[in-house]
Amino acid sequence: MRRYFTRKFLIYLLTFFFAVSIDWAIPRFMPGDPVQSMLSRAALHPESATAMYDYYSNSFGLDVPIWRQYLNFWGSLLQGDLGTSVWLYPQPVSSVIANAIPYTLALMLPAILLSWWAGNSFGAFAARRKWLDNTALPFAYILNSMPYMWLGILLAWLLGSVLDIFPLSGGYGYGLQPEWSLEFIGSLLKHWFLPFASLFLVGFGGWAIGMRNLIIYELESDYSHYLTALGAPQRLIRRYAFRNAMLPQVTGLALQIGVIVAGALVTEIVFSYPGLGNLILQAINNEDYFLLQGAFLFIIIGVLIANFVIDMVYVLVDPRTRTGMRGATS
């Protein structure tokens, strides 16, 4: 058991190393020069521009050979330094991200967990129940086939623009100051709801369909038939089926996290929600290597942790993997 976890951990470490290296490299292969772009937005005299260019290239450490930049990157990363944002100069990337992350997490965590939980429960309930299967499931299919942003747009249009129930942008009311008051928290929730709802609904549809199909598989498997023959109550059989069906759904969650994260980022953009999504888009537009790296780093760590946790959960839940030690995602 311990050997298994150590090995798993090492593999994760290696994955982390490669993934982070790739994320370091990719922005640097983009055409253009972040300092040039930054200065092209400044109002200044052409001759001053040259001096400023040298100054900023130096301060970003972009005037050394690329391999040096790579080593420097790991050097400062290990010291917890993510560098300085080009676009939001002179803010350190870590603080820019720290300010955005609560919003992203508050959106993503509940959306992922709740849609997974609710989708699975509903899917399990609907399986082999004709009327639900025929009425509700088509909706689940439609939800699951919707592009995140389109659902976002529809919700924004119907509930925001036409009915004017929910605000269309921002993290909380523009006239408010953060504080512990009902008004503020209410406003926070109101702004959170629409982006959350679009993420939740799309996810819900997917999990519900998946679960429904899995349950039917299980109900039609030999052990279920056997149990039925033995006269076991239907409730009990369904419970067994549900347990078995959970395993692929856990794996599915691990596989889906990357896609869901991407969806969350786009949804944030649709609703101008002050999380990572807008930051990443702007970092790309402004060729902000450092901010981009930092944001990617966070996503990588997040997805890795999620995968790791799911791996562990899987081993604990499924006795078979404990003997084979194959794990969910391996």
Binding site: P46, M52, L105, S169, G170, Y174, G175, P178, N278, I284
Partner: protein, 583 residues
């Protein structure tokens, strides 16, 4: 129950973070509720708050007035002030921190400062502050480091007098400098390193202006009125809003939603389709500067930049033909819904109309005329050889040009498509490309392009800035600001320098030079003016009224853009009136 818990935890984290990180950033935690009268604690009373948007595209990141491309909206203007204001519509300089300024002789300029001005930390504003600020030009990382090449010395004669001695008097450029650059408090900045000075965050800004920093967060910047501001007493100017909340732009369509709802009072975004929503019948209470086309004041000229070092754009005849082939009327009408006006053949902004030499434009001007374009091409030897309707180079090789505009700049993307379409009708084969902004800057600055659109030169006190942009010499490997088309003309450049050395009061002298420049420009067509980009500005009158307009008493520039507060926008705040209270 379990699910509710799951939901509660991140929400709690969110609330914690939102309250925590903003209040810790708050250097001046003024209890809003207590000063805001009867308002609920923690919110800005709507009737006393001005909501703006359209300048800031990311979380406020610095309050350093020297970083003129990124400081939080209002840092210069609301907090830091300039020596003069310049009213572009009346072509008038208004003494601001300065009381007066005059040229004592050809190379000596004497500045008298107002007395009784204090920084928000209580220290008086003196000549030392001005001297300190000007001398920052010695720092290579300063945006005005070139000033030091022609400014010999700046000395404080007494507490309120500064004497500047120049080695070469660039009158136009100096007049531009004194209203554009904010004065910094020497007593706080003197001890700062170069790094801290020119690129520090300066997160506790101390200025002389009518507003003070209150707080900021991811998506907003809040200013509160500076009650001890000198202008109230000395100029009888009183900005009306107690709070100014500048909202970070998500996107222009979100801004449109906000201004329609009335949650934003002033939007300086380009809002497509807004012209349809104006007027009383629409019920939105939306206003713009003009109530008919082009609705907006003109802020800058959008140019079609031709790469004059490449074939066939190196041929003035080809460029002239191209100029005749672009249907700017259609662009203004279809893409912009009449919110912009097609440019004058000289490209000079309406505020510079008096510099347009009508004799020259009558003789050499151009307008959309595909037949004329075709005949110019034919006369110059560009023939359609392979029968596809597109002309070829004189040596028979194909002409296939690419017009680049940055990806995501939707109005320009549409405009570019139209330019390509109308050029094709005249026989010039243009396709459009939309690379990402950074890669476009890269190709543009290094001269690896055929055609791009650019509007980097904003309105100013003098057409010199504009001709400096068009004719700037010498051509460097990287053209970072202006003359992206790499047009080379020593004679024109000499005229531009002569213009710079003409006193701002010598209108006839200036006109003489600009007329010559226009002749060169219209003959050689180094760059093709397209349309005047608007000073995008739309206001909702549900909370504040008496917005700037062509007809009313408030005629100041209705904008929060960087570099525009000192073009009189600050006075707009004085003219605002609270809407009749409606409950």
């Amino acid at each position: 129950m379990r699910s509710r818990l799951k939901l509660a935890v991140p929400l709690l984290a969110l609330a914690l973070a939102a309250t925590g990180c903003t209040s810790s950033d708050n250097s001046d935690p003024e209890p809003v509720g207590s000063t805001g009268g009867n308002a609920a604690v923690g919110s800005y009373p709507r009737a006393e708050t001005l909501y703006t948007t359209g300048t800031q595209y990311g979380p406020p990141s610095n309050w350093n007035p020297l970083m003129n491309w990124t400081y939080a909206t209002g840092t210069v203007g609301l907090v830091y002030e300039t020596l003069f204001l310049y009213d572009p519509q009346a072509d008038k300089y208004q003494p601001w921190l300065a009381e007066s300024g005059e040229w004592k002789d050809k190379t000596t300029y004497e500045l008298k400062l107002r007395s009784g001005i204090t920084w928000t930390d209580g220290k008086p504003f003196t000549a030392d502050d001005v001297v300190y600020t000007v001398q920052l030009c010695k720092l290579p990382s300063s945006t005005y480091s070139t000033l030091c090449t022609w400014l010999k010395s700046a000395e404080a004669v007494d507490k309120s007098t500064v004497k500047f001695t120049f080695s070469k008097a660039n009158y136009q450029e100096w007049a531009n400098w004194v209203y554009n650059n904010p004065i910094l408090p020497a007593h706080l900045w003197k001890s700062r390193s170069e790094n801290e000075t020119t690129s520090g965050a300066n997160d506790k800004p101390v200025g002389t202006g009518p507003y003070k920093y209150l707080t900021h967060s991811q998506d907003r910047q809040v200013w509160v009125k500076n009650d001890g501001w000198w202008g109230a007493e000395q100029l009888d100017v009183a900005p009306k809003p107690k709070y100014i909340v500048d909202i970070v732009n998500g996107s222009n369509n979100v801004a449109l939603g906000l201004v329609l709802q009335g949650s934003v009072d002033l939007s300086n975004n380009f809002l497509p389709g807004v012209s349809k929503l104006l007027g009383k019948d629409s019920g939105y209470g939306l206003e713009t500067y003009y109530d008919k086309p082009p609705y907006m004041l003109s802020a800058n000229t959008a140019w079609l930049v031709t790469n004059n070092t490449k074939k066939p754009m190196d041929d003035p005849a080809f460029r002239r033909a191209l100029a005749h082939a672009v249907d700017t009327q259609q662009i203004a009408k279809v893409v912009y819904g009449d919110m912009v006006a097609p440019a004058d053949p000289t490209g000079l902004l309406p505020i510079w109309d008096k510099y347009v030499d009508k004799n020259v434009t009558r003789e050499l001007g151009f307008s959309y005329d595909p037949a004329k374009a075709r005949s110019i091409l034919a006369d110059a030897g560009y023939k359609n050889t392979d029968g596809n309707g597109m002309v070829a180079n004189k040596d028979g090789s194909k002409i296939k040009l690419t017009l680049m505009v940055p990806n995501g700049w939707t109005d320009w993307m549409e405009a570019a498509k139209m330019i390509a379409q109308s050029a094709k009708a005249a026989g010039i084969d243009i396709t459009t490309a939309t690379p990402d902004y950074n890669s476009l800057v890269d190709s543009r600055n290094s001269g690896k392009f055929d055609l791009v659109i650019n509007n980097d030169q904003q309105m100013s006190n003098t057409p010199w800035t504009y001709y400096n942009y068009v004719f700037r010499q010498p051509i460097a490997e990287q053209q970072t600001a202006g003359n992206f088309g790499r047009y080379s003309n020593a004679k024109a450049w000499k005229l531009v320098n002569e213009l710079d050395a003409t006193e701002v009061t010598d209108l006839e002298g200036m006109k003489g030079i600009t007329s010559k420049l226009q002749r060169i420009q219209l003959t050689d067509m180094p760059i093709i003016p397209l349309w005047y980009n608007g000073l995008w500005s739309q206001y909702n009158n549900s909370v504040w009224t008496n917005w700037p307009s062509a007809s009313g008493s408030n005629h100041y520039l209705p904008t929060t853009w960087r570099g525009y507060w000192q073009l009189d926008s600050i006075l707009m705040l004085d003219q605002l009136k609270p809407a009749a209270a409606k409950k």
